[in-house]
Symmetry: C2
Subunit: 255 residues, 2 copies
């Protein structure tokens, strides 16, 4: 047993995966329950399930510090704004390149600490120009196996579409191959959505069985350019709302 | 590193939680990937997602040995019969007291081995007369924390209804308190359903925050007898089907 370098408590991850059925969105709760404050963060909270998530954190005795998004979503309204109204101390986080408003902007290479645990930020553009993947820390006292929260860059046996919001199939191909498939094979992959009832995958599995990303770049681009997907139902509501933290009906000065 | 007593390989759990959206059912995949055969079992498979589950097991190089049910479900058709048609070597398992047909019947106290891992059977009647909870083994080489697959006996912040299929609120109260709440506080609870997007809870959490089962017995019975739930949509299809492994249209001799 090694005490952390700061002389504090040994980090201990509490982890919960939460599902919003209508948009098939996964929200992730992570907390360091080894730390006396039990600091927590939420990745990709949804407006409709904010009360569920806040009640759960209260039950678990956690202190929510960050409400983070992997990108500016087009299929649901983020819960970050609502959370900040209910808990003004919480800080919202998104990438600078998303174009959305938040309390703090992260970039490739940044670390987000909660207690003695941290997430690394990896830029994984291609689904949108501002997509990032959050990856648990690479250090002896951080969770093993590692966990990657991929947003819509990489889905289980799939990936996010690349035909709007600054999407680029070529960029997505390179993002996944350079930033996600290079993680250790046992890294657990947690996407922002699943439509078939899968909850988790691994780097090893997706490098072998992802029907799109196992193709070469030309093959991948070919698939992505011929998906013929309908215009997203929610996009004209969700994107403007998510650019202002889900608070489209609230004046910005009130944030 | 201690070699298991049988001189074989050290057990290593591979675990996947899988969701069927229409009936909000969770199916659980467990395998011993420390064993050279990579033997696996499924708890509460659903007919509609059998192909997904079999493809996943093929991708993961697992050998499905058992398709088990926690009880005779009233809200969806089990996948066990379909699985046995596609993979005749697989054995179906259910409790004797469920009244349903299966290849093997389990009772309270039985152990179900897959490789060097095992599940303990605990009788938890009350939702139906034949409900069981499967709990991972209590031994140094078994997964820590323990995991309990509670079926509909205990749901996250809830429990199964007790007004049909031989249900009894008094019996359910005693089952949960004597068989589930006596497990270590950090035991992970995996129910057969969740309707709010929760994926897991713990014994500690449910003993503190379950709105029904934290009441005394009279209070619990009062709640359960005044739920005024509608007659289950699927029951007249699902129960007869599940009594014959989901193979209502197949002659039994073909099984
Ligand atoms: Fe997206
Ligand atoms: Fe049931």
């Amino acid at each position: 047993f090694d005490a952390p370098a700061d002389g504090g408590t040994a980090p201990k991850l509490l982890f919960r995966q939460l599902f919003e059925k209508e948009s098939s969105t996964y929200t992730y709760l992570l907390a360091d329950v080894g730390h006396p404050d039990r600091p927590a963060l939420l990745i990709d909270p949804v407006d409709k399930t904010v009360d569920r998530d806040l009640t759960l954190m209260k039950d678990l005795g956690l202190k929510l510090v960050y409400a983070m998004n992997t990108h500016c979503h087009a299929d649901h309204v983020t819960g970050t704004g609502l959370i900040k109204i209910k808990m003004p101390g919480v800080k919202s986080i998104i990438s600078k390149s998303s174009g959305a408003i938040a309390d703090a902007y992260i970039e490739h290479g940044d670390k987000v600490y909660f207690g003695n645990l941290f997430l690394e930020v990896r830029a994984t553009p291609g689904h949108t120009a501002g997509c990032v993947t959050y990856v648990t820390g690479d250090a002896p006292d951080q969770p093993q196996p590692r966990m990657a929260f991929t947003g819509d860059a990489l889905l289980i046996r799939g990936c996010g579409r690349t035909d709007f919001q600054g999407g680029s199939s070529s960029q997505l191909y390179h993002s996944v191959h350079s930033q996600i498939f290079t993680l250790p094979g046992d890294t657990l992959l947690y996407p922002a959505h699943d439509y078939k009832g899968f909850t988790v995958s691994t780097v090893e599995e997706e490098t072998k069985y992802n029907p799109r990303l196992t193709k070469d770049e030309e093959g991948f681009k070919n698939i992505m350019e011929n998906l013929n997907l309908p215009y997203p139902k929610m996009i004209d509501v969700a994107v403007p709302a998510n650019l202002v933290c889900g608070l489209q009906d609230v004046t910005l000065s009130a944030m």
